[in-house]
Amino acid sequence: MAPITGIIQNKFPDAVVFTTVDQVVNWARKSSMWPMTFGLACCAIEMMAAGGTRYDWDRFGLIPRGTPRQSDLMIVAGTVTLKMATRVKRLFEQMAEPKYVISMGSCANNGGPYWKYGYHVLKGVDEVIPVDVYVPGCPPRPEALLYGIMKLQERIQEDRVLRRHPESVGSLTGATLENR
C-alpha cells in the first residue's frame, strides 16, 4: 500500500474533515474487497470452501471476480512455480490501484513443503509481487483465511487516503516518526 500521488491523495494534514473522509473511504474499500480467484493448488479448495456456505466470505463483502482488471484483492492460493511466476507478476500489474495481496498457504509464503528440493518452485510469492498479509497453514483452514482477510481489513482501515503520510526517517523499511 504505497502512497499514491493523485490530485487530492496524500496531500492533507490530519484534520477532522480529512480524517472522517478517510474513515469513510477506508470503510468502503475494506467492506467490498473483490478478490480475483487465483487458486493455484490445494489452497484453492480451501478458498472455495471459504466462499462456500459454511464459512461464507460474502458477508465480508468479497465477491470473486474472474478478471484482474475488476478486482482489488489477489489471494495467491497455492504453490507458485517458476513457469507461473511471470504470469503472477503480469496479473498483479493488470490490477488497478488500490490493490492488495494475501499470500495464502505456506507454499505462497516461502515455498512450503517444496522449499528444499523443488527446483521448479518459487520460494515464496513475495519474490515477484509485494504481499500485504501472509496466512500460514498447509492448507490454512477457511477460518484462518477469513482471519487473514480481517487483518487486511484492519490495515486498510488505518490507511491514509487523503491525509499525508508522515515523514519517513529515511530507513529502508519505511519507518516513520509516527508508526515506528
Binding site: L40, C42, A49, G52, R54, T79, T81, R87, Y114
Partner: protein, 390 residues
C-alpha cells in the same frame, strides 16, 4: 539432441492460419479451467479447429522429493498431488510399498481404509460435479454439494485432525483409528445423503434439461480412443467400457462388497459424451454409499486391532520394484516404486496420474466444437492440475 526453444518448429505462425482463424489463449488463470491450465485455441470464429494444452504450471517436483525423503515422508507429498481426493493417493502409495515389503494389514484396517476411501470418493465427486455445474452456469448445485462435502470433511477432521490433506494412510496402517461414534455419525450422513443430497443432485442438475442439452452431444469419446489414450475411471466408464480396478484386481478387501459398475448409457445422445461421464460420477456416489453401508455393517462385527501394529519403524523395502494401481475417484492411479534395498529413501517413484492421460485426449475430442463446449469438456474430464503436473 536439441532443446526445443525455437518456436518456429512447433508454434503456429501467421502463415498457417486461414483468413478467418485466430489464436486465442485461455491462459493459466481462468475461472473455468480447474487450475492452472493453459489452452491455446485455434478458432475459426467460435468454432475451435485445434487445441494445444500447455501444462506444467504446477510442476512441484514430486518425484525429485520422493528420492530425497524416506518412504514414510513421501506420504504428505502424495496427498498434495490430487488435493481434492487426498485419501486415495496415500492409499495407493501405502499399498504399493506394502506389496513391496510383503506387509498384510488386518481385516479391520482394510475395512477402515475402504470406509475412508469411499467417503473420499463421495466428497471428490461432489466437488467434480458441483464445479462442473458451476462452469456451465448452474451455481446452486455447487453450493449444495459443497455443503454436503463439508459434512464428510467433518468426519475426516474428527478422525485425523485435517480437512483437506491428511497424511492418513501410512505404510502398514493408518495414522489414527476411527473414533467412538464414527459409525453412527457416518450412518447419519449416509441416511441424509441417500434421502436428500442424491435425489436433489439428480433432479437439480443431472436431470435438468439445460444440462442435458449442453452436455449430451459434446465431447463424445469412443471406447477405442478411450483405451488408446488410457482414459480410466469414470471417463472410460462413461464410454461404456466396464473396467474398474476394484472389480478386476481388488485390493483392500473390495471383493467382499457388492456394488455395481456404473456405465454411461447414452440415453440422451451418443455414448461417451460429457453427460455420460457426469452421470457415471453421480451414480458412483450412490454406489459408494452402498459400499459404505456394507463396510459399516462389517465394521460392527469386527474387533479392533491396533492401527500402528504393522507400521515399520523406518521402512526399508528389499530391492525390487512394483507397479500398483488403485481406483482413485479420477481414474486409475498407478505408483511405480523402485527400491534399491540399501537406503531409507525410495530410488524412484513414478506416478501415473489419471488426469495426465485424460488431458492427452483433449486435443482429439476438442476439434470442431465451440468455445463454450470446450469449457464443458474440461470439466467433464475432471482434471486436477496438481495431479497432472505433480
Amino acid at each position: 539432441m536439441t532443446l526445443a526453444t525455437d518456436t518456429t518448429s512447433y508454434g503456429w505462425q501467421v502463415e498457417d492460419l486461414d483468413t478467418d482463424e485466430m489464436i486465442l489463449n485461455m491462459g493459466p488463470q481462468h475461472p473455468a479451467t480447474h487450475g492452472v491450465l493453459r489452452l491455446e485455441l485455434r478458432t475459426d470464429g467460435e468454432v475451435v479447429r485445434g487445441v494445444r494444452p500447455h501444462i506444467g504450471y504446477l510442476h512441484r517436483c514430486f518425484e525429485k522429493h520422493c528420492e530425497n525423503v524416506d518412504y514414510a515422508g513421501v506420504i504428505p507429498y502424495t496427498d498434495r498431488m490430487d488435493y481434492v481426493a487426498a485419501m486415495g493417493n496415500s492409499l495407493g502409495y501405502a499399498l504399493a510399498v506394502e506389496k513391496l515389503m510383503g506387509i498384510e494389514v488386518s481385516p479391520y484396517l482394510q475395512v477402515v481404509r475402504v470406509i475412508i476411501a469411499e467417503l473420499q470418493r463421495i466428497a471428490s465427486h461432489c466437488v467434480a460435479v458441483g464445479t462442473y455445474g458451476m462452469d456451465l452456469g448452474a451455481f446452486t448445485p455447487f453450493l449444495h454439494l459443497l455443503r454436503d462435502r463439508e459434512k464428510v470433511l467433518d468426519l475426516f477432521e474428527w478422525t485425523c485432525g485435517a480437512r483437506l490433506l491428511y497424511n492418513y494412510n501410512w505404510i502398514g496402517g493408518v495414522s489414527h483409528d476411527l473414533p467412538e461414534g464414527f459409525a453412527r455419525a457416518t450412518r447419519d450422513l449416509l441416511r441424509e445423503f441417500d434421502a436428500v443430497t442424491f435425489p436433489e443432485l439428480m433432479n437439480l442438475l443431472i436431470g435438468n434439461k439445460i444440462f442435458v442439452k449442453r452436455t449430451a452431444e459434446v465431447g463424445v469419446c469412443s471406447p477405442e480412443t478411450a483405451i488408446s489414450y488410457d482414459l480410466t475411471g469414470p471417463n472410460i466408464r462413461g464410454s461404456g467400457v466396464p473396467r474398474d480396478i476394484r472389480k478386476d484386481q481388488p485390493y483392500c478387501g473390495y471383493e467382499k462388497y457388492d456394488f455395481a459398475i456404473c456405465l454411461g448409457q447414452g440415453q440422451f445422445g451418443p455414448l461417451g459424451s460429457c453427460f455420460d461421464r457426469n452421470l457415471v460420477r453421480a451414480l458412483e456416489m450412490a454406489e459408494s454409499s452402498k459400499i459404505l453401508h456394507q463396510a459399516l455393517d462389517a465394521l460392527s462385527k469386527m474387533e479392533r486391532t491396533p492401527v500402528h501394529e504393522k507400521v515399520p519403524k523406518r521402512a526399508k523395502p528389499p530391492k525390487g520394484e512394483v507397479y500398483f494401481r488403485t481406483e482413485a475417484p479420477r481414474g486409475q492411479l498407478g505408483y511405480y516404486v523402485v527400491s534399491d534395498g540399501a537406503t531409507f529413501n525410495p530410488y524412484r517413484v513414478k506416478v501415473k496420474s489419471p488426469c495426465f492421460t485424460a488431458m492427452s485426449v483433449f486435443h482429439v475430442l476438442a476439434k470442431g466444437m465451440m468455445i463454450a463446449d470446450i469449457i464443458a469438456l474440461i470439466g467433464s474430464l475432471d482434471i486436477v492440475l496438481g495431479e497432472i503436473d505433480r
